[in-house]
């Protein structure tokens, strides 16, 4: 699968811009703040129905009413036209070949995508939310049932929490209602947990391989799924009832799941060096890519944002060689240094396309 052509209208700093991409490597170079990342985000948007960075209202170009992205993909030898039209605050419209989807969830996973960006270190450094999002992003692209269960779970959880917050101090809660929410949570929680556990079991060995390759096998790494939800989630919810009422939120559930990142049996965040951290995160993102690829009939699009920020030129070349060797499909890569990128891309001896980005304008070189 690959993206042939993309047209952005009022998307961040792009007014109207068309780009014709090559099926393999596409390099976007330009100075800081010119719109390289924004273009990657537009591609991500077409695949995932949302920005990887912003809310819709910050994705629309300043002062404009709407934004639109049109993409022409080739998927299983068929042309597919995907259009999204977004007026922030209104219902988002996504169309495949001029027919609007009833639900956005029907689109997710058809055009798999993985973005690797400097901000990914938050996976190790920030709270568990980022790690859950990483897992969910992976699994949602593979399994629409997972996506639907996740949406359901989150909606029920939100209602339950708002109910807990709305109980006036000193008055008795409606136990029947809480019980109703508990029971509604059971099925989606079960499914989500099983899929997360399985998913991580499959991701782990791939991740280990990549880390060994990138780091030269210097350290032992591991990544574990952690969930406090057990066989009897219903009883657990009941057991924390008093606590939930006091704290006015749901304190147990798969919305508390986490991933434990380990380096030589220690917590990565506490003991890892800068370089180890970078290699760790890059490996886990590549593992995400590979895991999705293994389960899909089409190869995901890989978006590599500021990859040089993470690795020296030598490592980047190794990485690209690896990706291209394995016939990894279409790649978009951004860099501030044109010469550096050109040098590496030339050395790969493969067809590639080069674009120059300047103040929201893109030119093919």
């Amino acid at each position: 699968m690959h993206l042939k052509e993309i047209t952005l209208t009022h998307f961040k700093n792009y007014d109207i811009q068309k780009l014709e991409a090559g099926p393999f490597l596409n390099c976007l170079t330009g100075l800081n703040g010119m719109g390289k990342t924004n273009l990657l985000d537009a591609i991500y948007y077409l695949c995932m129905c949302k920005s990887n960075f912003n809310l819709d209202r910050d994705t629309r170009q300043f002062g404009k009413e709407f934004f639109r992205v049109e993409g022409h993909f080739v998927r299983k030898n068929k042309d597919e036209k995907i259009v999204c039209k977004v007026i922030p605050g209104k219902k988002k419209v996504f169309e495949a070949n001029d027919v609007a989807y009833k639900k956005l969830s029907e689109h997710i996973g058809l055009f798999p995508v993985v973005m690797i960006r400097p901000g990914d270190t938050s996976l190790a450094l920030e709270g568990s939310e980022d790690r859950r999002r990483f897992l969910d992003n992976t699994l949602c692209q593979l399994d629409v049932i997972y996506l639907n269960h996740l949406i359901t779970y989150n909606k029920i959880l939100k209602q339950r929490n708002i109910y807990l917050k709305s109980i006036p101090y000193g008055s008795r809660p409606n136990e029947q209602l809480l019980k109703t929410y508990d029971l509604q949570l059971l099925e989606p929680a079960k499914y989500i947990q099983v899929r997360r556990r399985e998913g991580l079991e499959e991701l782990r060995p791939i991740f280990n391989q990549y880390y060994a390759r990138i780091s030269g096998g210097a350290e032992q790494v591991d990544c574990q799924y952690q969930s406090k939800v057990d066989e009897n989630f219903e009883a657990q919810l009941e057991a924390v009832r008093m606590k939930d009422l006091q704290l006015r939120r749901t304190t147990v559930g798969i919305h508390k799941d986490d991933l434990i990142f380990k380096l030589n049996d220690y917590n990565l965040k506490k003991t890892g060096s800068q370089g180890q951290l970078k290699s760790y995160i890059l490996s886990i993102k590549l593992a995400q890519y590979e895991y999705i690829r293994q389960h899909k009939e089409v190869k995901p699009i890989l978006l590599l944002d500021d990859i040089f920020d993470k690795l020296d030129a030598n490592r980047v070349r190794q990485l690209l060689e690896l990706l291209l060797e394995n016939d990894f499909g279409q790649i978009f890569l951004t860099d501030t240094h044109e010469s550096r990128t050109t040098e590496i891309a030339d050395s790969l001896e493969r067809d590639y396309k080069k674009f120059h980005v300047e103040k929201g304008r893109i030119e093919e070189k």
Binding site: Q159, R160, Y163, S166, Q176, L177, Q184
Partner: protein, 203 residues
């Protein structure tokens, strides 16, 4: 739009505040009324005022009604043992239009959704329990939209009335409701009420 008359402007604005009527149509209506006799305008306005002043809510089922009890609830030919629970009056009307249902109704007035500030106590659930307590009811049909909030509501009510030993059913899923009940076409809706399924909770 520029009006030479304040009176006309206000009247246009009144009409234009109604759903589905823009300023242009509003002006057309006003000009039409002006072309007619004064008493025709009075005849037009009177029923609306009268309706608004005298309309009641049925004390049994919360349907709209001219009297204390609505036409459906006083009709002895309608099966007392069957209550169809709906979210609102428009859903009730949609089901009535199918002509396939001969039981009675209960209008909840919404679904449980704390996000919208609607809790069980804001809905007509207690009166439903009251009707059931009288002992005539054998079956309750939940004709509530298949959203998460709808599910919560069905779940909650069926737990509440569980001990009463009456049948609880839902209108058949898999039938396309077209989002909301009121948009479902008459045939589909009618059929789904006839082919309702017993409601099972995992409890």
């Amino acid at each position: 739009m520029n009006f030479s008359s304040k009176l006309i402007e206000e009247a246009v604005q009144s009409f234009a505040s109604l759903p589905g009527i823009g300023k242009k149509s509003a002006l057309r209506i006003i000009l039409h009324l002006l072309n007619q006799d004064t008493n025709l305008t009075e005849q037009f306005c009177d029923p609306i005022l009268k309706m608004r002043r005298h309309i009641k809510t049925c004390k049994e089922c919360h349907n709209l009604s001219d009297a204390e009890t609505c036409e459906i609830c006083i009709n002895i030919h309608r099966d007392k043992s069957l209550i169809c629970v709906v979210e609102n009056i428009r859903d009730l009307m949609a089901i009535e239009d199918t002509g396939q249902y001969r039981g009675r109704y209960h209008v909840l007035g919404g679904v449980i959704s704390p996000i919208e500030g609607v809790g069980p106590q804001d809905l007509n659930i207690e009166t439903l329990e009251g009707r059931i307590a009288k002992g005539d009811v054998k079956e309750v049909i939940m004709a509530i939209s298949p959203t998460i909030e709808g599910e919560t509501t069905i779940f909650y009510i069926s737990k509440k009335i569980k001990e009463k030993n009456i049948r609880v059913s839902t209108i058949a899923r898999g039938v396309s409701f077209g989002g909301e009940l009121e948009y479902a076409d008459e045939v589909t809706l009618g059929r789904s009420i006839v082919a309702r399924v017993p409601y099972k909770t995992n409890q």
